[in-house]
Symmetry: D2
Subunit: 127 residues, 4 copies
């Protein structure tokens, strides 16, 4: 978790560096998410998530009691996504939410995906 926290701060710094001239020095921290290696993907993927066949992405199907519970989960996840500026691909019907995570900017998986996946697990009560 410490790793992910650090990653999150770093990705924000990178974001800021790109926007804020005064932070020019921080720019070197990396301007975009770093693509994870296969080993990193294996070790960092949170419980319950699996890699998608034929695509560098992870996915998980969450099941809830009803739409109300599923929607509470989605509402918290939406806040987290907007805050991280990292949005899921998700499909919902009634009490199921099928989430796929990947990072466009690195054409693969980054630590942002692992962090959002971990937070969604927590929101779903299965962290």
């Amino acid at each position: 978790m410490a790793v992910m926290r650090a990653s999150r701060s770093l990705s924000r710094v990178a974001l800021l560096a790109a926007r804020t001239p005064a932070l020019a020095g921080a720019r070197s921290l990396s301007a975009k998410p770093v693509r994870l290696s296969e080993e990193e993907i294996t070790s960092l993927t949170p419980a319950g998530w699996t890699t998608v066949e034929g695509r560098e992405a992870i996915e998980r199907k969450f099941q809830f009691a009803d739409f109300s519970e599923a929607w509470a989960f989605m509402s918290r996840s939406a806040l987290a996504a907007e805050e991280m500026c990292h949005h899921p691909e998700w499909f919902n019907v009634y009490n199921t939410v099928h989430v796929t995570l990947a990072t466009h900017d690195c054409s693969g998986l980054s630590k942002n995906d692992m962090e959002l996946a971990a937070r969604m697990n927590k929101f779903a009560g299965s962290a």
Copy 2:
């Protein structure tokens, strides 16, 4: 709980009766929420809720870990409120949600308030 379920169905029937000519017979089921007596209020008020001073209403202050948790609670409650066509008065700041419930149509408390209060307790994990 059985009592409240029944009440809910009845209030919907009343709503429908008012809107649906074909249901004229159902109109007699009562066109608006029935105001609870003091005894009923005492026996039906869910755990954690108290009566408001100087007003026929009940209130409860919910406390959560953070805004995300509070928002999940509010999101589920919003669904329930819209479904019941019975909306709360609520105040939120960060991790607290202060809810007040009353029924305009009967100028007091009805079983709708008791049901919404019970559902909110459940959503907050304190049912």
Copy 3:
């Protein structure tokens, strides 16, 4: 629109009839959503929606300025869905929401789908 309103009231009555012994007389109003004929589908499908290939369902892809706008649309639609007890299949990524509507209980399309579709159009500002 009048037709859909009526339909909605009727489906609720059916729901109530199934739950409320006192409403036994209303039961005959029909216990489940009625499957629309091809002609009805053609005439009732709201603007922007098309039939899904190989399945009796309608779909529409909504595009918004950003996730925030898409989420506002989904939040209103969630309230409507819960209120109607009729939930969409929907896929979201960032600013797009792809919605598919069908009615399990009649293995096809019912007026509920047409009503939810019309309300979603309104929520998206394209009614």
Copy 4:
């Protein structure tokens, strides 16, 4: 608007500086929101917002067509609040949302309040 954008980036940098040892140099950018002067409050307060009597805060009462519209507004505002890590005090009943904004960390108003107020105006379609 340019001023507010800058302010927002700065407050995030400050937040990061406090969390990220590697960013020690950024710490001097200011660790907490700066309290606005009376002149700044007057010139920066967005349309429709007024100062609260007896408290350094701004408020606005938003009115919508119904709960659904009010909730869409709140849902977008919640995303913005979480993203800014700056949360409103707000009261909702049915179609009205009464918002009060202030900044705890500076015991008064900061540019964060002005930015959130401006974004809420935009969400309410009155920017």
